[in-house]
């Protein structure tokens, strides 16, 4: 495993020693991890840290020392590409005196490849800009100075040193320090108490390439509690170049995983803790929770990493507590070999009787247990298995490789899982079923089977989409409105004949319907009105909204001034509106400006239905399908003829529209439909 040396900040380390207990500090630093401890920077990081100011001392004496050294944090020109030699500051996003937070973009730099935001690496105050906008600085050159404390801004801006006037500056900064940096204080306090006095090593995110800033943990090859050997691959890290195995550099036990699978960590930041002794695992777990929170980690990771690191901290804490509780409850004394073997064989180690010193479980105990499985397990298996004709030989673990791996991960005893695979073997799905990750297939209600396979039905809550939510809200709103409904059958033969004539010209049923309704509304403006508390509001325009079902929702695009426009125009407009509806690009004015709505389900063969009146409108017309009827007819040869009829149902707001209005409107509409020539 490689560690990037980074910018070793000796001052930080010394400070650390000054306020932490020497013992715990040394526990921190088992040779190999000391470099990683202080390595915070990859080539992309724009900061050369001068660290005296990073640590806020918890006692007055120490604080005075800090203030004495109150030097500026230097912001340097970062190398934004491997070929970049100098960079031009395009813009300063902060001005002198501004407070800056770690992770906040503070300037825009133009490199040879692109303009990039450069983020602050630490909290502080921008004290002095050395490279002005438009000016160029070499990579590594100091472009600005940052003061950790507001009180230091002036002195840093003046001399860049800060340590010249100890008395006044210290006195002035003292209260502010306490106020402004509670986080830092907490961090320092946490750090001081966190590192447990036990032997452990820290596994840090290695720099797998020269350009790697952070790495994503693709997978952990070991779980918490697993023993690792030096040289053994323990995780896979995805860098900008490749996925690579990262090996342990010391023997030990994985005490705590700080960066979970799928999460990223900055190069040099801790991703796991490895305990030298198993007994120290709980203590390290607790420490890991603090590290994950960023509290005790001396090199503060960039904001992006901090952001992803935060959630696991919360997760890790209860886990740690649970783990220690468990070990306190029923402690199993077993040799590592025995544990590994039990894991391997899928045996619950707590069921094994130890014969070693002090009842310790040895490897041979596990082996014996495997050879003669407990009576309970043996009795259970054949009963549960679907293929009972085969009994595995003694010592055989009847489980596929994936089932074993899954059971191990879920800490399940394979013997407790009913196998449904070949020869009663436990399969991966069996384990998933046992963990609840997978639901058992719904059994056919029809006994004996033989019928068609049961249809897979959806189950459980599916959250509303934005559109579905809007529809449900609108529907609830309509409950306040008293409505009535009126239906009428309309003979459609003339309409159908006309439609067949104009269809080749591109006239659509929707356009004809909209036009017919609009024409009828012209004669009965009350049906086109809206209810207002003060009275009836007559809408000047006749805007026909028509309901369209689109994938996962319902929307009503509007044909404006439908009474005044030709059917071809309306048809074309409608086509465009439907396309927009399908792509979700309708403008609000195109779907909420309707004064009357048509809901047409004729194409589905619906014989009759009524629609819910959208709030704000006076009426909605539900158009059902056309059906053929035989009716008496004296002129016809057989005394009867075949006609087509369609039922329409008008729903109206009864607060301003009355039954007679609806009846008259429907009569007019019927007349238009029965002599439809006027439409085209």
């Amino acid at each position: 495993m490689k560690f990037i040396a980074g910018i070793s900040s000796t001052t930080a380390l010394i400070c650390l020693l000054s306020w932490t207990d020497p013992n715990s500090a040394s526990a921190f630093v088992p040779s190999s991890s000391s470099s990683s401890l202080s390595s915070s920077s990859s080539s992309f990081v724009g900061y050369a840290r001068n660290d005296a100011s990073v640590v806020v001392e918890p006692n007055a004496r120490a604080r005075r020392e800090t203030s004495l050294n109150a030097e500026a944090i230097k912001i340097t020109m970062p190398a934004l590409s491997s070929t970049m030699k100098e960079g031009r500051v395009v813009t300063w996003l902060k001005s002198e005196g501004d407070e800056i937070e770690a992770g906040e973009a503070i300037m825009v730099v133009e490199s040879d490849k692109a303009d990039m935001d450069v983020e602050a690496f630490e909290d502080g105050y921008l004290a002095k800009i050395l490279t002005q906008e438009g000016e160029t600085a070499e990579v590594g050159a100091v472009v600005a100075l940052v003061a950790a404390l507001q009180g230091d801004i002036a002195s840093i801006a003046e001399g860049g040193g800060g340590g010249d006037e100890p008395g006044g500056a210290a006195a002035a900064s003292a209260p502010i320090a306490a106020e402004a940096s509670p986080a830092a204080t907490a961090a320092a306090g946490g750090g001081g108490g966190a590192a447990p006095d036990v032997e452990f090593s820290r596994l840090d995110m290695p720099a797998l390439s020269s350009t790697m800033k952070e790495g994503k943990v693709v997978s952990w090859l070991k779980s918490e509690g697993d023993a690792v050997e030096a040289g053994e691959a323990i995780m896979v890290v995805e860098s900008d170049k490749a996925d690579m195995d990262v090996e342990a550099f010391e023997d030990g036990i994985i005490a705590a995983i700080i960066t979970q699978e799928g999460e990223a960590a900055a190069v040099g930041s801790p991703v796991a803790l490895i305990a030298a002794n198993e007994a120290d695992v709980p203590a390290l777990k607790a420490y890991a929770a603090i590290l994950a929170g960023g509290g005790g980690s001396p090199p503060p990771p960039p904001a992006s990493a901090a952001a992803v690191a935060a959630p696991p901290a919360a997760k890790a804490a209860p886990k740690a507590a649970a783990a220690s509780a468990a070990s306190a409850g029923g402690r199993v004394v077993a040799s590592p070999m025995a544990k590994a073997m039990a894991d391997e064989m899928g045996i619950d180690i707590s069921t094994v009787v130890g014969t070693g010193p002090d009842g310790r479980i040895t490897a041979s105990d596990v082996q014996n247990a495997a050879m003669s499985p407990p009576a309970g397990a043996a009795a259970k298996k054949p009963a549960a298995a679907k293929v009972p004709s085969w009994t595995p030989a003694a010592g055989v673990i009847a489980a596929t490789p994936t089932a074993r791996a899954l059971a191990k991960k879920a800490k399940l005893d394979l013997a407790t899982i009913a196998g449904t695979g070949e020869f009663g073997r436990v399969t991966a799905d069996d384990v998933r079923m046992a963990t609840g990750e997978m639901k058992p297939k719904k059994k056919s209600v029809v006994p004996g089977g033989g019928g068609p396979a049961p249809v897979e039905l959806p189950e459980g809550l599916v959250p509303f989409t934005g559109m579905q939510r809007a529809v449900s809200n609108n529907m609830e709103k309509t409950l306040d409105c008293p409505v009535f409904r009126a239906s009428r059958e309309i003979e459609m033969d003339a309409f159908n004949e006309l439609y067949q004539q104009v269809k080749p010209k591109g006239v659509t049923v929707s356009a004809l319907l909209a036009k017919a309704v609009a024409k009828a509304l012209e004669k009965h403006p009350i049906v086109n009105s809206s209810y207002r508390k003060e009275g009836t509001f007559f809408n000047k325009d006749i805007n026909i909204a028509m309901a369209v079902a689109i994938d996962g929702g319902l929307i009503t695009p509007v044909l404006k001034n439908a009474n005044e426009r030709g059917v071809l125009d309306l048809g074309e407009d409608w086509k465009g509106l439907v396309d927009k509806a399908k792509t979700g690009t309708l403008k609000p004015d195109e779907y909420n400006s309707g004064t009357f709505t048509i809901s047409n389900m004729g194409m589905f063969g619906i014989s009759q239905f009524d629609a819910i009146l959208p709030s704000g409108q006076g009426g909605i017309l539900a158009v059902a399908g056309t059906q053929e009827y035989i009716v008496p007819c004296k002129q016809a040869v057989l005394g009867m003829k075949k006609i087509s009829k369609m039922t329409v149902t008008l729903t109206c707001d009864h607060r301003q529209i009355y039954g007679a209005d609806a009846a008259l409107f429907l009569k007019t509409f019927s007349e238009i439909m029965m002599s439809p020539k006027s439409l085209v």
Partner: protein, 536 residues
């Protein structure tokens, strides 16, 4: 399919060790009597060259023999095409191609990154997949046979057996006669005989093969079943390729490897990547350092295959597996029994025929061996490099030597590939071997890498996993070895093999232009990196 016995590496080193000292005397003894024999036998022969064995090696030798105007006969032993075409490389590619597509189309996450969604379940017809393999083999076999007859090579149906002058006198007089085992007819070669009998799968003691539930690659290629769980004994090329096929089709796999490391014959760094890409992310687990000491076939649906495993060192029982099928992929042994070798004074070692660097057969392995005049041995039977194209190259080399033009095959320049998804390919020694070689020969080993993650084409394919590693001599700049794991590695290795063969330097390679955007740029990055240039 590349057949590699776990012990081959060891054997190959033995071979090269004994060839060197004997080379001088062998060369001397060969050229002089050849002319005299030509004279004495003139007009009393059937063919200029007789080739025993009609695999890829024999085929390559026969084609070149005809191109040199030599009359040629080839003994097929009823197996035109040999292992590669009928039971090896060729049909396995068909299985890998079919199963690879199944894997691709079932990889929902991967497809969705492309914006592709497969509705419903992707299924396959096992018999259809098996038929594709069978038909491919038949077709390639037909092509191979057609090219022989078209070029005027006489194919003798039976198996060829050497006929000695009696009492193992071959070393003195040379061997010129081959008997058709089927018809009993004896054919005489004017000049030389090339042995190309190939190899057969090795089945370790204790393993019972029924070719149904316990099978070698021969049975596996027929794809008689897709077992729920199959154990593969041996994690070399063959085992790895089949694990790729099986897992793609839905099986779970357990590797049983006798050596301490999985994939022991590969470069370690490549093996580690391969473990991640080809094993760990798949339903595969493995045991290393164990022998499958007892493998008992099962009966499908009635009784599983039982595999007893013992520790490779302590020989103690460690675990018993009950699986649906077991594939034995523990390497291959020469197919040299009962072909009259003893009758002409040729001693084999574990079946392998000793040859010198010109492919001339030696009486035995070791320093005592002397050249058997007029007999060559190429391909798997000499154990130098058990690869089809190596056999063919050796066959061509043998013909060159027969024609009086001294030629030696540079085995370091012969590439090899494992056709998993993604592929693994290499030319030259592993890094571990190269380090040893550099120390022994006193030069400095340089190493440079290219990565697929930084390659535009690989990223477009969403196949960013993998690496190419170029090992070179820092003093001379010459490429020593290249190892690639990544998409289309097998097609990428050729440039490197050519470089090794031609002695091209990394300085030269770094200035050669690679097409953009192609996977070749992974190598461009490595070549440029070797001379301190950046590719991107």
């Amino acid at each position: 399919m590349r057949f590699l016995l776990a012990s081959v590496a060891l054997l190959a080193t033995q071979a090269s060790a004994f060839v060197a000292p004997s080379r001088g005397s062998a060369a001397a003894s060969a050229s002089a009597p050849a002319t005299s024999l030509d004279a004495s036998r003139c007009g009393n022969y059937d063919y200029d060259v007789i080739i025993v064995g009609c695999g890829v090696g024999g085929h390559g030798a026969a084609l070149h023999s005809r191109s040199q105007g030599l009359s040629t006969a080839i003994f097929s032993g009823g197996d035109v095409g040999g292992t590669c075409v009928n039971r090896g490389c060729v049909p396995s590619k068909a299985l890998l191609a079919a199963s690879g597509r199944v894997r691709e189309m079932r990889a929902e996450d991967h497809l969705s990154e492309f914006g592709i969604k497969v509705e419903g379940e992707v299924t396959y017809d096992r018999e259809g997949v098996a038929r594709h393999a069978k038909q491919l083999a038949n077709r390639v076999k037909g092509n191979l046979e057609g090219s022989l007859t078209a070029l005027g090579v006489d194919i003798v149906e039976g198996r060829g057996v050497l006929v000695g002058g009696g009492g193992g006198a071959g070393a003195v007089e040379g061997v010129h006669e081959v008997k058709d085992e089927t018809s009993g007819k004896v054919y005489t070669a004017k000049q030389d005989i090339i042995l190309a009998p190939g190899s057969i799968p090795f089945v370790p003691p204790g393993v019972t093969v029924d070719e149904k539930t316990v099978y070698t690659s021969d049975g596996a290629l027929e794809l008689q079943s897709v077992p729920q769980w199959v154990a593969i004994i041996g994690s070399g090329y063959i085992g790895l390729e089949f694990s790729d096929v099986y897992t793609a089709l839905g099986s779970e796999v357990t590797f049983i490897e006798a050596l301490p490391n999985i994939m022991p014959t590969f470069d370690r760094e490549i093996a580690k990547q391969a473990e991640r890409l080809l094993i760990r992310d798949r339903p595969i687990d493995y045991r290393t350092g164990v022998f499958a000491s007892e493998v008992t076939p099962g009966i499908p649906g009635v009784k599983p295959v039982t595999i007893k495993m013992i520790d490779a060192k302590t020989k103690e029982h460690v675990e018993t597996l009950e699986v649906d099928a077991a594939m034995v992929a523990t390497g291959r042994v020469p197919n040299t029994a009962n072909m009259g070798l003893e009758s002409v004074g040729i001693e084999t070692s574990r079946g392998f025929v000793a040859v010198d660097s010109k492919m001339r057969v030696m009486t035995k392995h070791g320093e005592d061996g002397v050249v058997v005049p007029n007999v060559y041995c190429i391909g798997d039977a000499n154990g130098k490099m058990m690869l089809a194209h190596a056999a063919s190259a050796q066959g061509i080399s043998a013909i060159e030597n027969i024609c009086g033009r001294t030629h030696e095959v540079n085995h370091d320049a012969i590439p090899a590939a494992c056709f998993t998804h993604p592929e693994i390919a290499m030319v030259g020694p592993t890094e571990e071997q190269a380090i040893e070689r550099a120390a022994k020969e006193g030069w400095t080993l340089g190493k440079s890498q290219g990565s697929f993650r930084a390659n535009s084409k690989a990223l477009a394919e969403l196949e960013g996993n993998g690496m190419a590693k170029v090992l070179y001599n820092k003093e001379s700049g010459k490429v020593v070895a290249v190892h690639i794991i990544g998409i289309h590695a097998a097609d990428l290795i050729q440039e490197c093999a050519n470089a090794v063969a031609a002695g091209t330097t990394v300085q030269e390679l770094s200035m050669m232009v690679h097409t953009h955007p192609t996977l070749c740029e992974v190598l461009d990055e490595a070549f440029k990196g070797a001379v301190g240039m950046a590719a991107h």
